[in-house]
């Protein structure tokens, strides 16, 4: 234990005396989260929606058909009462629910006025906005078609409702993404660089010749980064709450638990990189090109995964960040419990174990 503490102390000296790492550790999280207060527009495609049709007549069938035959939407669920709407959203697949009022056709023909409600999941504000605009324009088109042959114009009113993030704050959507990137950066990139630095300087050899066991060396090296990553998580969550007034809907305990799991996943990736890379530069390049870039592009942080071509969608599954962002959005914005995110959590856990086993194997081969 005493050896361990001495080791950790030394790691902290390394970190504190290196301005660059200090900046990455503390400057980046704050800069990033401020930067990403801006929105980025996205196109939508093949978005899963659910329908709650109270009328179920010819006209409503026609509208539903119009929507499902567009390339933008895929109707994946038919709901029969209001109370299952929330559940459909919480499962995470459905991005919008279309509610058609009772006696839709009767109201339309008799009173020339019928109503449709669109409920969207605003945890992704841009997508939510696009979805409702697209649906409204499809309904408008349909309205024009039926009005061609009549003197009295029929009115279909579509009103939109956002849930989970009704004020459409895009920063709410970016917080989980930024948090993911920061944790990835601190845990994976910084540890892989700090381990390869010992290799490059030749001190790793000296450590391996010492009575310290290889796993003790690695734990000693990664421990400070676990600590720093946890501090970063706290800073980001506090900034979100107090600067951006973002409410955290779910349990803080669950949030802490999954964050630590993701930190461990990232650390295991960092260790894996350090077993492959011989120099700090290689480690940095692999981290940037192999981790940061896919994390930003494929995780669904900026570009919705559902709108990507199929090969990229498949590829996105091996990006740990994708699963963590789903979990974070669930906990922070939708307030879901563990039962809704256990699958994603399990995936992260399996990835972590896989990385550690692989690193240990590679490490042994090198020693022999």
């Amino acid at each position: 234990m005493k050896r361990f503490i001495g080791f950790i102390k030394k790691e902290f000296y390394h970190i504190i005396r290196d301005r660059r790492s200090l900046f990455i550790l503390f400057g980046m999280p704050i800069a990033q989260i401020m930067l990403f207060g801006f929105a980025i527009t996205n196109e939508i495609q093949n978005v899963d929606i659910a329908i709650l049709d109270h009328s179920k007549d010819a006209t409503t069938q026609e509208i539903i058909h119009k929507i499902s035959s567009s390339k933008y939407f895929k109707i994946t669920q038919l709901i029969d009462n209001e109370s299952s709407i929330e559940a459909a959203f919480k499962k995470g697949k459905v991005k919008a629910v279309l509610i058609i009022e009772k006696d839709f056709t009767k109201n339309l023909t008799k009173e020339n006025n019928a109503n449709i409600q669109i409920i969207t999941d605003a945890t992704e504000p841009n997508t939510a906005n696009s979805i409702s605009n697209y649906i409204i324009s499809i309904i408008q088109n349909y309205k024009q078609e039926i009005n061609k042959n009549t003197n009295v114009p029929y009115q279909i009113n579509a009103n939109t409702k956002m849930i989970f993030n009704p004020e459409l704050k895009s920063v709410f959507m970016f917080v989980p993404g930024v948090m993911t990137i920061i944790l990835m950066l601190v845990s994976a990139m910084m540890t892989s660089i700090s381990i390869t630095r010992e290799k490059e300087l030749g001190t790793m050899e000296v450590l391996l010749v010492s009575p310290l066991k290889p796993y003790q060396v690695i734990i000693g090296k990664v421990f400070p980064y676990i600590f720093l990553a946890i501090i970063n998580t706290i800073v980001i969550v506090l900034l979100s709450i107090f600067v951006f007034k973002m409410p955290i809907q779910g349990s803080y305990l669950l949030l802490a638990f999954v964050s630590i799991l993701f930190i461990l996943t990232s650390l295991s990736l960092g260790i894996l990189i350090s077993t492959i890379a011989a120099t700090q530069q290689t480690a940095m390049m692999i981290s940037l090109a192999g981790l940061m870039l896919p994390t930003i592009i494929l995780s669904g942080f900026i570009f919705p995964v559902t709108s990507m071509p199929a090969p990229l969608q498949i590829l996105s599954n091996i990006i740990p960040a994708k699963w963590f962002i789903i979990i974070l959005k669930g906990i922070m914005l939708k307030g879901v419990g563990f039962t809704f995110i256990w699958k994603e959590t399990l995936i992260l856990l399996v990835m972590t174990v896989f990385n550690i086993v692989l690193s240990t194997k590679k490490y042994k081969i090198r020693l022999e």
């Binding site: 030394k10 000296y13 001190t203 010749v209 066991k213 020693l367």
Partner: protein, 242 residues
Amino acid sequence: MKNESVIIVESLTKMFGNFTAVDTISFEVKKGEIFGFLGANGAGKTTAMKMLIGIGKPTSGKAQVAGFDVFKNPEEIKKNIGYMSQKFALYDDLTVKENITFFGGIYGLSRIQIKEKTISLIEELGLQEIENKLVGSLPLGWKQKIAFSTALLHNPKIIFLDEPTSGVDPITRRQFWEMIYKTANNGTTIFVTTHYMDEAEYCDRVSIMVNGKIEALDTPKNLKSQFQVHNMNDVFLKLARG
């Protein structure tokens, strides 16, 4: 006691695939001896040494270091040896004192032991003025001395030096060898690899490796007369040319 062997190597072999890096080498090193381990680059010196210090697994053969078997007890060996690499691996961003404290710590020295050792070491090397300076700012010669001293912190039975004088000026090299002599006089065995042939003359006995095999092993004096030359450089050249 005087003739006790602290390193016993018998037919030690290391293969990488089909390539035999170390080919059935055998030798013994006595307590307090300065043993020079010579060979051209790629002759297998480093591979052989790695097996002896417990970070490389031999393919076959036997070896005992400080009384422990390299196959069964590499961890025990590590506790009883010191190691200094050719890079004088110290942490540039730690001060002299912090480096000593850290390396003392990983060898399991108590806080009081570390304190005492640090004080005596700083006094011995005359480091009073630079004890709180970052190692990165020191000249190479200083780093080398500090690295050597930290490798001795836990009073190892044997110290392994991997080309300890590469890149250092002749005067500093001379001073360094004085430190080695002093250490050997205290009963610590010195196992040193080098490619400076003049340094080979300072050793009690030297072995010369060529293509994975030990081609010669004796005192420098006997080797010179055996090959009928005047210095170790010529001994080496005769062997290396086959």
